[in-house]
Amino acid sequence: MFYREAGDFKTSYADDSQTFPIKFDRYRYWAVLAFAFLVVPFIINDYWLNAVVLPFLIYSVAAIGLNILTGYCGQVSLGSGGFMAVGAYACYKFMTSFPGMDIFSVILLSGFVTAAVGILFGLPSLRIKGFYLAVATLAAQFFLVWLFNKVPWFYNYSASGQINAPERTVFGYAVTGAETQAWAVYLVALIFVVVLAVVARNLTRGSLGRKWMAIRDMDIAAEIIGVNPMTAKLSAFAISSFYVGISGAMFFVLYLGAVEVGEAFGISKSFIILFMVIIGGLGSIFGSFAGAAFMVLMPVLLKNIMVGQLGWATDLAAHFEFVIVGGLIIVFLILEPHGLAQLWRLAKEKLRLWPFPH
């Protein structure tokens, strides 16, 4: 009833190939954007920003990046944490070397640096496949973290080995450093997320995305019908790392402010992002958002219930969190291996038929 193609006649090619061909989808999309840009900035406060909204936005970008590589191109990567670290350290070096640069170009440039590093570590994917590749990407994870720990140039020879985000302003409002306001930080992150998500959505619908999917489904067959596996795989690595690098840069400048590389970008970060992609749904941009929301909200919720309501000790709650997260992941994989995105697809099917079930 609400969700139908019938009666929605397309009269031009532009209409026919738009991102959301169904009217209900289109309205929902604009409504969500309007809510995010016009309502949220006025009601957001520091707690919601730092506990929920900002991690969600930043992890969404990382999840989209990994989804491009793993979900669309079929190359499993466990090195996302390392690539986030590249983004963060590139961002730090740009900010301290060129104090005049504005925050948007700094973050974008860090993305490009990470893309270059991603191509470098993507080279083995031309020879290695499957789990061998997954383990090979761990090399990137451990090597990069070690590099940022051991080479003082990366953290400007500071005594603590940490990097700290200097203050930057946008139109006079501080968005990084100590004196930030919740709505300003939120808007900067939101702009990146929206633009990157739209770009990703259209990339994956276009010829590049189709090449990736051909490689994912069967690389040899794809090669035979004329997809160049080298450009397809390396472009997936580059674009994926670009996204992950931007999320790492945002994680550093907007969210944490001060970073110690082993702690912030360790192997567990790689796994969390992989969880988001799997739980959200491989090969779906919406799924990346859903997975990020799930993985960010659940620990907050569990902590609130166990520590806040039941009054348990925090270490007990932390152990329980592990048990519940692990259990939920298994239950999820058993019940719906295609992730939250598949649930959404099923819901849409139901909506299309409702209220007549046949």
């Binding site: 020879r127 090597f143 070690w146 720990n149 040899i220 348990w312 152990h319 692990g326 992941i329």
Partner: protein
């Protein structure tokens, strides 16, 4: 011969000993991968869980004491007995079998025919679950594990090798624990080989590893084989847990040795038992020698974290199936 040469040789031998322990963890991976095609990330956490259970049983800790105290306001912590090491080890082995049955019953059975990545993710979920569960059950503080394995430098070897060098050479320093671990790992491998070659179950195991469907068609129960394989992997985890636990205490970092076993797998091939052994030795020696010759003097140390991965990565570029892995044949 200079003292530097002997020092290098000592590093080499110590690398071999560490390599044996890596092989031990890698063996658990290979067994499960061969028989069920599952890349079991939880292998390291299984070692941690086994070691925690062993210590808990030995010291007579009350399981879930912290949780019970939190809910009921009681003050229980120990039963007050102290089990002999051998009995505790046997009981822990029993726990690992129960674990294998539970994993088969509640996880694997429902995930038949799913893509590899989903199964891999399920084992990561399992790793999270068991990590939290183990801490919940036995507490998360660092524990001392003592099952009577001698520790510290081995004086006999030190005294009897001193004559090799000159004035400033005092013999090779080897940890007794490493020697015991190497012997046990060797015995374990030997018994595994005998088991898989000469017993009925072992033959069934190899049949499943060769071809699932063909094995099913001649009447081999896949589920039984899975339970057997996961139990064996559990025993291996227990042995690895005892060795690493005695060496550095039972703590969370124990589960990270699984990550060390991954490059070993890449090097040796995911499907090869000899590959796991040889790969482990190469990685163990390689990372110690690299740290000794290049890492510590020129790169600022701590290269052990990534060297194994880089070595495996470079190796794979030239030989994608690993040292002993099955030849990869691809068809459209």
């Amino acid at each position: 011969m200079s003292a530097g040469f002997y020092f290098g040789a000592e590093v080499f031998i110590n690398g071999l000993m560490t390599g044996v322990l890596y092989s031990l963890v890698a063996l658990g991976f290979v067994l499960i991968f061969k028989s069920s095609g599952i890349f079991n990330y939880a292998q390291g956490v299984m070692a941690l869980f086994a070691a925690l259970t062993l210590v808990g049983l030995q010291d007579g800790q009350v399981p879930f004491a912290h949780l019970i105290n939190s809910i009921f306001g009681t003050q229980v912590h120990h039963f007050g007995w102290h089990l002999p090491a051998l009995l505790a080890i046997l009981l822990t082995a029993g726990v690992m079998v129960v674990l294998a049955i539970l994993v088969e019953r509640y996880i694997l059975r429902h995930l038949v025919n799913q893509p590899d990545i989903i199964l891999f993710m399920a084992t990561i979920g399992m790793a999270y679950f068991m990590e939290g569960f183990g801490d919940l059950m036995w507490g998360s503080e660092i524990k001392k594990l003592d099952v009577g394995i001698p520790q510290g430098g081995n004086f006999w070897i030190e005294e009897n090798t001193a004559f090799l060098g000159g004035e400033d050479f005092y013999g090779f320093y080897l940890d007794s624990l490493d020697i015991v671990a190497a012997v046990f790992a060797g015995l374990l491998v030997l018994s595994l080989v005998l088991f898989s070659q000469y017993t009925k179950t072992g033959r069934a195991l190899r049949a499943v590893a060769d071809d699932h469907q063909a094995a099913l068609s001649v009447g081999i129960s896949l589920r039984f084989i899975w339970v057997v394989v996961w139990s064996i992997a559990g025993f291996i985890a227990l042995v690895a847990g005892i060795m690493w636990g005695s060496k550095s205490g039972v703590q969370f970092s124990l589960s990270l040795i699984a990550l060390k076993a991954l490059p070993v797998l890449m090097l040796g091939g995911f499907t090869s038992i000899p590959g796991a052994i040889v790969g482990g030795l190469i990685i163990g020696v390689g990372e110690k020698m690299f740290e000794f010759l290049i890492g510590a003097p020129f790169l600022g140390g701590a290269t052990e974290n990534w060297f194994a991965y880089m070595l495996a990565l470079l190796f794979l570029v030239f030989r994608p199936q690993g040292l002993f892995g099955d030849k990869i044949i691809e068809r459209v």
